[in-house]
Symmetry: C2
Subunit: 177 residues, 2 copies
DNA sequence: TCAATCCCGACAAGATCCGTCGGGATTACG
DNA sequence: CGTAATCCCGACGGATCTTGTCGGGATTGA
């Protein structure tokens, strides 16, 4: 598991591992939604991620009211509301900060620097359009879209199950990564 | 002009100054299109950017066949074709590399790492959608859209020079965060 | 010739990323 | 009550990237 240290962002507009791991964490919580708290140790094992690092991400998600924590033995984290009510934009903002392809196009007004150029800056239009394209996409996708359901498969992935009840394949076989 | 060194990317999905400066450079070249080569010294002065740094960016743009250079005295750079034929996507790719919000969603297949997870990775869908939203936007905007024409001004950009960065008139668009 | 300009590789300060580490607080369970 | 499990939190550090600077070489117009 030791430090990967091969840097993550090889291209433009890259999310960091915070975003990647955090989203994977949320997907795991989505799968477990309704089953009580899940411990980070369990999820770290399932996703093969360093648990101490996940703790930092979980705290950020908790501070954003996306998950709730239960302390003590048998504690853990669970979603604060159903996956369908959690847009991916909220998750990624909690993990990575406001979406801002350029400083002068941040979602957070206080991050705007003293860009005395904005008035005559036609380039600003570009950054705003990119930002809006991203946020629109991120607002339209919810966590439910990424959580594989036992009964409702992502469109295109067949897998209809007429006889509800037990599902023979999914439960708890830790995706051997 | 000395080193700014206050870091640039304060939010998620941020371009670096390479992208910012490079786009500004291209806009300047767009304004001068048809007037022969423009020297970097001139543009650096206009945009208040360090000329040695612009040189690096210019070389990247030249290698991508977006500009052509003329060496020697009275030399400089000029666009290789009219601004309307230069999509912003090409510019930013030349400056910042392939658009890849996540390593497993790069435009360049060879950048895809040994992600043995991709097959069962529902999260990948998210990164691909973000990438497509960005590239679609960037493909639709050309340099001509950012070059202020002398006769056709961008409407809606009423000049304002109060200077302190806060503007009561700017419509604040759906920042629900 | 001379100056302007592109061309190019090397270098470096500082910031961020990606975790690790160690402990403290809280709670379930026997 | 004691212990183990679990969240909570701040500090730390190596690797890497960013953001330029610097110095010189090559090419060309006047």
């Amino acid at each position: 598991m030791s430090q990967r240290q091969t840097f993550h962002g090889t291209g433009a507009l890259a999310f960091s591992t915070k975003g990647e791991y955090g989203v994977r964490l949320m997907v795991q919580l989505g799968r477990r939604y309704g089953s009580g708290p899940a411990s980070l140790a369990e999820i770290a094992a399932d996703e093969d991620l360093p648990r101490p690092y996940l703790e930092q991400l979980a705290i950020a998600l908790r501070d954003a009211d996306l998950v709730v924590s239960t302390r003590g033995a048998r504690g853990g984290y669970e979603l604060s509301r159903p996956p369908v009510e959690i847009p991916m934009a909220d998750i990624l903002r909690a993990l990575e900060g406001p979406i801002a392809p350029m400083v002068c196009a941040s979602e957070e007004p206080e991050h705007l620097p003293g860009c005395d150029r904005t008035s005559r800056c036609t380039v600003n239009l570009l950054w705003l359009r990119i930002r809006d394209a991203i946020t629109d996409t991120l607002d339209a996708i919810t966590l439910a879209d990424l959580v594989p359901s036992r009964t409702i498969a992502l469109e295109g992935l067949a897998g209809r199950t007429s006889g509800n009840g037990h599902d023979p394949n999914t439960p708890r076989e830790a995706v051997t990564a």
